[in-house]
């Protein structure tokens, strides 16, 4: 299915080198602990990928992606938690068969909304549908009334705040501030062993590439072009007879779905889910992954996520107090000096020389790049 039309030469190169890196090089050279860390970083790459679509192409900055990430993660966690709290495992509780945190909060029967999560099929459907539905409601309410830009960012941020407070406040139903911990098996398969972690890693890489291909597909269709047009000149697109709101809703929903898949993967990889991955701070950190990678670049998002998270782990392991300075400086530097992130640097400084070496690119497409990157610098509101 990968033909020269779907990916152009440099994109194919990017795709293959990313595939090589994630599926061959990293698993060969890293031990299971580090590979599991990479797997954790990659779960954020899903979110970053969604943000490329909705922020980079659509021009909609959402500061509430953590909510969707968390929803996906919590859906998965609810299934795993129910499986871990079988009657046999929870004999000592006053009500056996319900998750331990419910028992601690004097809840005696499983709440209604937990019941569907006994089934893996329903759980997978919930992971995909619930966050998308929420995004649809938010998006429909906002974009139909032409709320956008800054206001949308602030309101999504408020929604992230609401979600965190709600999860922490409703301890009996959500596990509160500790989140859902002690997740053990997936349909009887122990997810905590090293072997399982490696398998889950490869599964995650596979799903990530499926999402990358989906995003690339959306980008190349007319839909993707309208998204970009909308970002640049919203009114002109509207006057051309397109329903701007519907396209925005679509981009936002797609981003939410990607984020939710990432969240579900996160729960599987790490073995727990907590409100600290839902709120304002993680949500805005997810935006910086995308910004560092390049808000316009699908592959850049993945590299940006890996790089920022790697730096975070390294710095906070050795110099914990430096990390926030580093992250803050990164925000400022990316915004002030590299609005197109890593992919912009690559395109402007590295790719040009590679191209000159190969000397295959026509001057026409080069001009197109220049115009495009000039436009990227100042995305219209």
């Amino acid at each position: 299915m990968i033909n020269s039309r779907f990916f152009n030469r440099s994109e194919l190169l990017g795709f293959l080198s990313l595939l090589l890196l994630l599926a061959v090089i990293l698993p060969l050279f890293l031990d299971v602990f580090r590979l599991n860390l990479v797997a954790k970083y990659l779960t954020y790459a899903f979110v970053a990928l969604g943000l490329v679509m909705c922020w980079g192409y659509g021009g909609i900055l959402s500061l509430g992606q953590g909510v969707f990430f968390g929803l996906g993660g919590y859906c998965m966690a609810m299934f795993l938690k129910l499986e871990a709290s079988s009657v046999a495992n929870t004999k000592i509780q006053s009500t056996p068969g319900i998750p331990d945190f419910m028992d601690w909060n004097q809840i005696t029967a499983l709440p209604m909304f937990w019941k569907p999560f006994h089934s893996l099929t329903l759980t997978i459907i919930a992971i995909l549908v619930v966050p998308t539905l929420l995004a649809f409601i938010i998006g429909a309410a906002m974009f139909k009334r032409r709320v956008g830009g800054v206001y949308f960012a602030i309101i999504t941020q408020a929604i992230a705040a609401i979600a965190t407070i709600l999860i922490i406040g409703q301890q009996g139903y959500t596990g509160g501030i500790n989140g859902m911990t002690d997740l053990r098996t997936l349909n009887g398969w122990d997810i905590r062993t090293d072997h399982a972690k490696v398998i889950l890693y490869f599964f995650e890489v596979f799903v990530l590439f499926a999402c990358i291909i989906t995003a690339q597909f959306i980008r190349l269709t007319k839909l993707g072009r309208i998204l970009v047009a909308m970002r640049e000149q919203e009114d002109r697109v509207r006057f051309s007879g397109y329903s701007v709101a519907n396209f925005k809703i679509f981009a936002f929903c797609a981003a939410a779905m990607f984020a939710a898949i990432g969240g579900a993967m996160f729960t599987l990889q790490i073995g727990f889910m907590s409100p600290s991955f839902v709120g304002i701070v993680p949500s805005i950190e997810m935006v910086i992954y995308t910004a560092v990678g390049g808000r316009m670049s699908i592959f850049g998002a993945v590299y940006g996520t890996l790089l920022v998270n790697y730096a975070k782990t390294m710095l906070s392991e050795s110099f914990p107090e430096l990390w926030l300075f580093g992250l803050g400086g990164l925000f400022i530097a990316v915004v002030l000096f590299f609005p197109n992130g890593l992919s912009g640097i690559w395109r402007d400084h590295v790719a040009r020389h590679i191209d000159r070496l190969i000397a295959m690119r026509s001057s026409k497409s080069k001009k197109a790049w220049a115009i495009k990157s000039a436009a990227d610098g100042a995305p219209a509101e």
Binding site: M142, V150, A153, I155, A161, I288, E321, G328, I332, P379
Partner: protein
Amino acid sequence: MFGDYSIGDLGAIFAMQGFAGLILFSVYVLMALGLAIIFGQMGVINMAHGEFMILGAYVTWLTSSFFQSHLPSLFSGYFFVAMILAFIASGALGMLVEWGLIRHLYKRPLDTLLATWGLSLILQQAYRSVFGAREVGVELPQWMMGSKQVTDTIEVPINGIFVMVLTLGITMVVAYIMYKSRWGRQVRAVVQNRVMAGAVGINTEKVDRYTFGLGCGIAGIAGSAFTMIGSTGPTSGQLYIVDTFLVVVFGGAASLFGTIASAFTISQAQSTMEFFMSGSMAKVLTLLTIVAILMIRPQGLFALKVRK
């Protein structure tokens, strides 16, 4: 939910919660005034606003420590010195930030959000390195402690009254500056039409810098007042930033009156509900209501009608 209380009790509850709400209202107004100037007038999203406020709080704390150890006889009046110092410190930092960061981003409002968020992280870590991770609290002077008994069941704390009076005063000063002074007219002119304002001889860059500085300075005063009713930690500012943005957006971004009205509504709703349910649920309900209202009326409560 009202069933267990008699009418008299309910009256007292509403009065006391109403007063608690008024203190919250004062904090919101002081925070939101600065933000309303920066966001409403300049269109800059300053996510580091909370950190400017905390800077004011730390300056107040330092001043109070200084007075305690060196000038104990003047301790009862330290707050007024601290307030001025807080204004100067936050304002100066604000102008520096405007010069180094914000002025390059006026055409990209969403990017100011990211850049100032980065700034807020740096400031937080700086506070943590300098002042330590523990929360600090100032010692109140004698005359600010205790509470005033209004009736048998209603009593109000004096520091709360003081903060409210302070808020009132600052609001009036800001309103005067923005709507009556020559400089305020220049600010509004630059906001409405930057090019034309420049053409008639207003130094728009200077106006921008001082506007941003004023907004941050007011945040510093807010922080100063904040020490009267709570303790200060490196991340205290972040707790309020989303609420404050909602206050400004809910009130209608360009309207000072709207900001005050929305701060009043939000704080009263929250503190009244807090009595009848858990604090977190009250907050969730308040925020949800605001978000819902904003979806129906995106321009906020009081929108300034201008031709775009």
